[in-house]
């Protein structure tokens, strides 16, 4: 575990050996030396801690020899004599060799005769007490006894931060004290106004060209404005709220998708923290079971358009987000697949999920994830549905369209090279692999490369599952 070298002892091992030798113990095992050094270190620490107390009790900032002496005394150890001094010890340095300095305390020899005959040292000056006004009625008088403002750095003495009383600062002779509002999140009036205007413009469904223009302007502003960070949470919150409340109002939903779209487009915004909150409303628009009661043709179309739009928005968000672990993408895809594979869901939901997959994934990933799922889907969902209502209904058509769209997108020039040497599959094989409904559709497209790709992907999958089973 300890890759780091063990921290060396502060106390020098040689020191212990030297002392041992000085008392006549010449051979000391290294283990013993180490233990002794550890012990010495611990004791030194203990004495220092104790000495600190005496320093604090003496209200001093410098640890002195007398503190050590006192500490030794309370620890019941004989104090070191001869070091008591009020002036700092002076250390001399001698060299034992290159890089081996030896430190010792300079202890000058005093000639006894000289000491006796020397004149008495000067008596230190007596302690005297003086009084002055440090503050008069809350203001410090500028008299020589008090520090000047420059010395005192008076600005450092004034409280800063919220709640600081500027009046008190002024009282202390310091006028320009800034004050902070106590409110947590303050949005300037302009921003609030902006928010209201934008939201109102986006939600106005008048077809008056002026108002339509206003709507576009609002969205454009959202796309490019710099200072919107402050409003971001409010927009996200607003959209979430609106989508939840107006799940049957296509216009509102659509506008909200527009709003998000604009925000996602805005390169000045740092959206990452908000993605988790932005995803749910988008998902709602994509895969909710029922978007409103309307059954008129244009309404149905609008519904599908909205699902599509939301799906693409999701795809866009996935691209825009710089999420190294693709956590959000992972979550999105698992949601899509869940809805896609749940045969209980409405066809429209399947549609939304498929669209989501289409927009969010690269061709290669789509091919890997989706291909082998299509045949069971065809069998479980599509065939029964088309038998029930006929292939011509909007739901089935749209769904088939979505699947085909996905499949179609598998083909890219790079992929094409992969299957260049594969044999071309027959229609029967394709239908077997993709299910009758989809298989026949794809066959109609007559795109050999794509067909080959599909077959290859499914074969690969089969081989993989087989290998899995065996192991």
């Amino acid at each position: 575990m300890s890759k780091e070298p063990s921290t060396p002892l502060v106390w020098n091992l040689d020191n212990v050996r030297d002392v041992a030798e000085s008392v006549g113990i010449s051979s000391l095992s290294s283990e013993a030396v180490k233990s002794l050094a550890q012990e010495v270190e611990y004791r030194v620490g203990q004495v220092t801690m104790e000495a600190m107390r005496f320093m604090q009790a003496g209200k001093r900032a410098v640890l002195g020899t007398q503190d050590i002496a006192q500490a030794l005394k309370v620890l019941d150890v004989e104090p070191l004599y001869g070091y008591e001094s009020t002036r700092p010890l002076r250390y001399g340095e001698a060299s034992l060799g290159p890089g081996q300095p030896l430190y010792y305390i300079e202890d000058e020899e005093v000639d006894f005769e000289k000491l006796i005959n020397a004149p008495l040292p000067k008596v230190p000056r007596d302690i005297v007490m003086t009084a002055h006004w440090l503050g008069v009625e809350g203001v410090q008088p500028s008299i020589p006894q008090n520090p000047t403002t420059a010395e005192a750095k008076s600005s450092e003495l004034v409280p800063k931060g919220p709640g600081a009383n500027p009046y008190l600062g002024a009282l202390a002779g310091n006028d320009n004290v800034s004050q902070k509002p106590l409110v947590r999140h303050i949005i300037s009036k302009e921003l609030i106004k902006y928010f209201e205007t934008v939201v109102a413009a986006i939600l106005s469904d008048d077809i008056d060209p002026k108002i339509v223009q206003g709507r576009l302007n609002a969205l454009n502003s959202l796309r490019s404005e710099m200072g919107l960070h402050q409003l971001l949470p409010y927009f996200v919150q607003y959209v979430t709220h609106k989508v939840t409340m107006c799940l049957d109002d296509l216009f509102v939903l659509d506008s909200m998708m527009d709003l998000f779209d604009a925000l996602v487009d805005n390169k000045n915004l740092y959206l990452a923290p908000y993605y988790p909150s932005m995803v749910p409303p988008v998902l709602s628009c994509m895969i909710t079971r029922n978007l409103g009661p309307g059954n008129a043709d244009d309404e149905i179309q609008k519904k599908y358009d909205l699902r599509n739009k939301a799906a693409s928005l999701a795809g866009k968000m996935v691209v825009r987000i710089e999420d190294p672990n693709n956590k959000i993408l992972e979550r999105l895809i698992s949601t899509f697949l869940k809805f896609f594979l749940d045969e209980e869901q409405s066809l429209a939901t399947h549609f939304g999920a498929l669209k989501g997959i289409f927009y969010s994934l690269t061709p290669e990933k789509k091919r890997r994830i989706l291909t082998h799922l299509i045949e069971p889907f065809d069998k479980e969902v599509l065939t029964p549905a088309s038998r029930r209502t006929g292939e011509k209904t909007v739901e089935v058509t749209m769904l088939i369209g979505a699947i085909v769209q996905n499949i179609e997108s598998f083909e890219t020039p790079i992929e094409a090279r992969l299957v260049a040497n594969e044999p071309e599959p027959s229609q029967a094989k394709l239908e077997k692999y993709l299910g009758p409904v989809i298989g026949s559709r794809i066959w109609i497209y007559n795109r050999p490369v794509l067909n080959k790709l599909i077959i290859k992907a499914i074969d690969e999958y089969k081989a993989y599952t087989k290998a899995q089973k065996e192991s």
């Binding site: 575990m1 300890s2 780091e4 063990s6 921290t7 233990s35 550890q38 012990e39 270190e41 611990y42 203990q46 107390r53 005496f54 604090q56 009790a57 003496g58 209200k59 001093r60 900032a61 410098v62 006192q70 309370v74 009020t86 302690i127 005297v128 007490m129 003086t130 009084a131 002055h132 006004w133 440090l134 503050g135 008069v136 009625e137 809350g138 006894q145 520090p147 010395e151 005192a152 008076s154 450092e156 003495l157 004034v158 800063k160 931060g161 919220p162 709640g163 008190l168 009282l171 202390a172 800034s178 004050q179 902070k180 509002p181 106590l182 409110v183 947590r184 999140h185 303050i186 402050q230």
Partner: protein, 742 residues
């Protein structure tokens, strides 16, 4: 929970902890550890025998079953030798990373578990004889705790052999007491869950094919159950209001009052004793009622005085003032005179009470702050020159005439503050404006004047002297001395403390005094007894500060280094009635407010904490002083303003009533507005990062000043040793001019 219970028991077994000293068992310290499971078994056998004898078959059966279970689990937990040191760092890393990746709202709660797990792991390793690994471990992780726990780290990192751990007082404290961790219920559940997930499953799983690796969860569980006492509470994690503050808090340098305010005993710092009293003891915080005879005498004299000097316009008569004072006293719950017997009042007591009322009426009134207007307080500074840093304490007498200093040269020196001569009643003493009191044989660390009040003047009918007659001093020579200020000689030597006596204070009414010292005790003495009357024991290390409650019924004491708690003792019973913990540096000053409801304590790190005595909770923390120690605190007469002076050479005034709003202080981006924003935000982010990256590197000039500071007066290179509000609300400050000091 349910399947944790047996583990608690199992881990409680000494056998699981002292799992064999590997190799270098030093001085046979390891011997008891392996032998203890035996004892445990023997004990079980004895109990079972007893139960059989008594015929308690059901109990016996249960015990058998449970003890078997305990042993099984214990066997499962016992780590393999190769694994025994690595597991600690694994465990700590597991905990840290989990806490760090957790939701922000839980982080603050969960971080509390880090320190105990860390330090107990370290001690465990040392005790098991892996001193080298222990030191590696310590150096690897200690950065996280450098700020909050540097004292303990300094002490414990020197420990390198089991013997030292078992003998060192701090380590002993840690190992003998359970570390209390108040945790929110949800956070606690999460913690348990996580630890279970990473505990590598039971023995069956280990032997089976699954082989789930233990990532250290077991060690953490073991440490938490063996050495800690987790107190789950139902309180919410954070309420909406303090949410941000809390997050900020976890980043910022110190733990704070959030918890204490929520009524959780702040067992945060140092080690809390198990005998921590609940803050349930009802306190008598009212003023002590005046003796009836004395009150009558005082009233008569005040009436007399009112007649002679009728109150000016806008002033109330002295008698009215007296009645108001009395009424206030009656309305509150004060201690009775029987509990604290005092000598019968004398003429000079009457004179003092009269003068008190007079001064109280004529004082500079500092009412609670209205409209943000600060009080116009004046500060008179007394500076001592040529001291060579030998002065340890400064004290002013209550009559504002005398100043006394204690020195490291073992003598006490008393000055007349006005430069007048100090009279002596002994014949043949030359007059002098300062006198030395010589008698101690080691540094003097505390002096205290007996209660006194300014001399009312000779035109009073009762002209008994109100000057202080006595001075107390305590010293490193283990003694307390009582000096006469009339003869300037030593009257009594009180012996009893076993070690240096750090502080001494007269009770507010005289006669009694309290001392505290190196021997971890607080003692209360009567002036007329040579031995102490009460000895209060409970602090875990040196007691270095002491203070009286204004009604004389309680004593406060503060401890240093490891303990850092402030305790409140009842004088009458000698019991500890409150424990306040929250300081992270040694406590350097203590003072109780004149209204008896608030205690202020200051520490070496420059923060002052105000405590609510009745509730036993923290009110707020005032920050502004630099590091090095705040040596003195004093409240204004109305208890609305606090003055402090410290080693940073400033005298500061604090508003007691401004609530602690600094939760939202720096380090946080709060919308826009305010011109100073930009700089502050950048500052704070920088410091925030510094905290995040290395706690050791911080602590530069980032002293924050809380908004409740009213004024700050810097001095000229003079650390302030004493600040004092007089009864007229003038501030006296005393300091030593140290031109060489930083």
């Amino acid at each position: 929970m349910a399947n944790h219970q047996p583990q608690v028991g199992a881990n409680g077994l000494p056998g699981a902890g002292g799992s064999g000293p590997q190799g270098q068992g030093v001085q046979g310290q390891g011997q008891p550890a392996p032998s203890q499971p035996m004892t445990q078994q023997n004990l079980n056998q004895i109990v079972i025998d007893y139960l059989i004898k008594k015929g308690y078959t059901l109990t016996e059966e249960t015990l058998r079953r449970e003890s078997r279970m305990v042993e099984d689990v214990a066997r499962g937990i016992r780590p393999s030798p190769a694994y025994s040191t690595r597991k600690y760092s694994l465990a700590f890393k597991l905990l840290t990373s989990w806490v760090d990746t957790n939701l922000d709202v839980y982080k603050y709660e969960l971080r509390r578990t880090l320190w105990p797990v860390f330090i107990y792991s370290y001690l465990d390793m040392v005790v098991q004889g892996y001193s080298k690994e222990a030191i590696d471990y310590l150096h690897l992780f200690k950065g996280n705790f450098e700020h909050q726990h540097h004292d303990v780290l300094r002490t414990l990192e020197k420990l390198s052999s089991p013997a030292q751990v078992l003998n060192d007082s701090t380590a002993k404290l840690y190992r003998d007491n359970k570390y209390r961790i108040p945790l929110n219920y949800t956070a606690y559940q999460m913690l348990l869950n996580h630890l279970e997930l990473h505990s590598g499953g039971g023995p069956d799983v280990n032997n089976g094919s699954m082989k789930r690796e233990d990532n250290g969860g077991q060690v953490v569980t073991y440490i938490l159950t063996t050495y800690c006492n987790i107190q789950e509470s139902k309180r919410g994690l954070v309420d909406k209001f303090s949410f941000e503050a809390l997050i900020n808090h976890a980043h910022s340098d110190s733990l704070d009052e959030t918890d204490l305010r929520e009524g959780i005993p702040g067992a945060f710092e140092g080690v809390s004793n198990q005998d921590m009293p609940e803050s349930k003891v009802v306190l008598k915080l009212g003023a002590m009622a005046m003796e009836t005879d004395l009150a009558q005498d005082v009233r008569a004299q005040l009436e007399d005085e009112d007649l002679r000097n009728p109150p000016g316009p806008g002033m109330i008569s002295l008698v009215n003032q007296f009645d108001m004072t009395i009424k206030r006293e009656d309305s509150e719950d004060g201690p009775s005179r029987n509990e604290i017997p005092l000598p019968p009042s004398r003429a000079h007591d009457v004179a003092m009470e009269v003068q008190k009322i007079k001064e109280h009426r004529d004082r500079l009134k500092i009412e609670s702050r209205t409209g943000g207007v600060g009080p116009a307080v004046s500060v008179c500074m007394f500076t001592f020159h040529n001291t060579l840093d030998a002065i340890t304490c400064i004290e002013f007498s209550d009559d504002n005439n005398l100043a006394a200093v204690g020195t490291e040269e073992s003598y006490i020196r008393v000055w007349n503050m006005h430069g007048a001569s100090l009279p002596s009643i002994l014949p043949d003493t030359p007059p002098s404006s300062s006198r030395r009191l010589i008698g101690h044989s080691a540094s003097v660390y505390g002096v205290s004047f007996s209660p006194s009040i300014e001399y009312p003047g000779s035109d009073y009918a009762n002209s008994a002297s109100t000057a202080p007659k006595l001075l107390l001093s305590c010293s490193s020579d283990k003694t307390i001395r009582l000096w006469s200020l009339e003869t300037w000689t030593c009257l009594v030597v009180y012996k009893g403390h076993e070690g240096p006596v750090w502080d001494v204070r007269w009770s507010p009414f005289g006669h009694y005094f309290a001392t505290c010292g190196w021997d971890k005790t607080v003692r209360v003495w009567g002036q007329d007894h040579i031995s102490y009357l009460r000895m209060m024991v409970g602090h875990d290390s040196n007691v270095n500060q002491i203070a009286w409650h204004p009604n004389g019924a309680y004593v406060f004491s503060a401890s240093d280094q490891v303990d850092k708690t402030v305790r409140m003792w009842s004088f009458t019973t000698g019991e500890c009635v409150r424990v306040f913990s929250g300081h992270i540096e040694f406590v350097s000053a203590l003072e109780c407010s004149p209204n008896g409801k608030i205690l202020a304590s200051a520490d070496g790190g420059g923060s002052i904490i105000l405590w609510d005595l009745a509730k036993g909770t923290q009110i707020k923390r005032c920050r502004g002083h630099g590091k090095g120690g705040i040596w003195s605190l004093s409240f204004s007469v109305e208890s609305t303003v606090l003055v402090s002076g410290g080693a940073d050479g400033t005298v500061r005034l604090w508003d007691v009533e401004v609530p602690a709003e600094h939760k939202i202080s720096d380090g946080e981006v709060i919308g826009t507005g305010g011109q100073g924003d930009a700089t502050r935000i950048t500052n704070s982010t920088v410091s925030g990062q510094a905290v995040a990256t290395s706690a050791a590197k911080k602590k530069g000039k980032d002293t924050t000043i809380t908004p409740d500071q009213i004024l700050a007066f810097p001095t000229k290179k003079s650390p302030v040793y004493k600040t004092k509000f007089t009864r007229m609300n003038l501030v006296l400050a005393g300091g030593c001019y140290l031109p060489t000091a930083p």
